[in-house]
Subunit: 130 residues, 2 copies
DNA sequence: ATCTCTGCAAATGTTTTGCATCAGC
DNA sequence: GCTGATGCAAAACATTTGCAGAGAT
């Protein structure tokens, strides 16, 4: 039912060029390099559409805005540095959370967010890039 | 430096009566039962203030709004039912995530969100309270 | 009396929606 | 040509801020 428009294609390509999770504003800026006339409303509409069709996955970071990443990426988590405020991928996953859920509950997914200090911020007392 | 106002007290009491995480709107509605004239701006200001003073903790659920809960609650996680859209407390915690973070990183905290179907929704094919 | 806090309303920022037009199929 | 998609602007929300007056100490 959905048509292939240049706009949607441009947005898709933005996500093929990065593995970082992106917000609407990021996507708009990146996609406008290929398609200057692109509007923010179209970005919102397509992010939602691409998520529903399964191409994108919503990422919930403890921030304000909703971020998205490619759905075909390996299952992973994030480490948030409270000092430099950056997010790092954590490929490892402890898995096996089934024993945590009560009898009768059906566990289907999980999200894990680790936080603290990254190596740079942990070693340097001075570095600060916030 | 901070004064004890009726407004702040009313907001504090809202959190003493529940263990569920609450959003600004929830807090406003609940506190207005005791203090009808209370304004939403005051709620926002006090939620932030109470978080800074350590009485409240921000909870990051995969939604839009920022929720808060009492800081003195035991460390716990949540289970989100995608069918009835409710959040359940999970008291257990797998702990020991240190081995997941790269060399040199300092792990200080973590958040875990489990999701799937709760017992009610998992057993009944019909129940739906969205 | 001082100085913080409050309520209101306006400002800001984000996301959604109505609508006329455009473009895929 | 039909029908979904786009861009714009307005609307709908959520959150923050300026300010004058009220209240706590």
């Amino acid at each position: 039912m959905s048509k292939n428009t240049r706009q949607r294609e441009a947005i898709r390509e933005v996500f093929e060029r990065t593995t970082r999770p992106l917000g609407p504003k990021d996507v708009l800026a990146a996609a406008q390099r290929a398609l200057p006339g692109l509007g923010i409303a179209t970005v919102y509409r397509n992010l939602k559409l691409l998520e529903e069709e399964g191409s994108l996955k919503a990422v919930h970071l403890p921030g304000d805005v909703q971020l998205y990443e490619r759905a075909d990426q390996m299952h992973h988590h994030f480490f948030h540095c409270r000092r430099c405020n950056r997010y790092f991928d954590i490929q490892a996953c402890p898995g096996d959370f089934d024993r945590l859920v009560p009898q009768g509950y059906k566990l289907e997914a999980h999200e894990l967010m680790l936080s603290g200090l990254c190596d740079t911020c942990a070693s340097s007392q001075s570095a600060k890039k916030d």
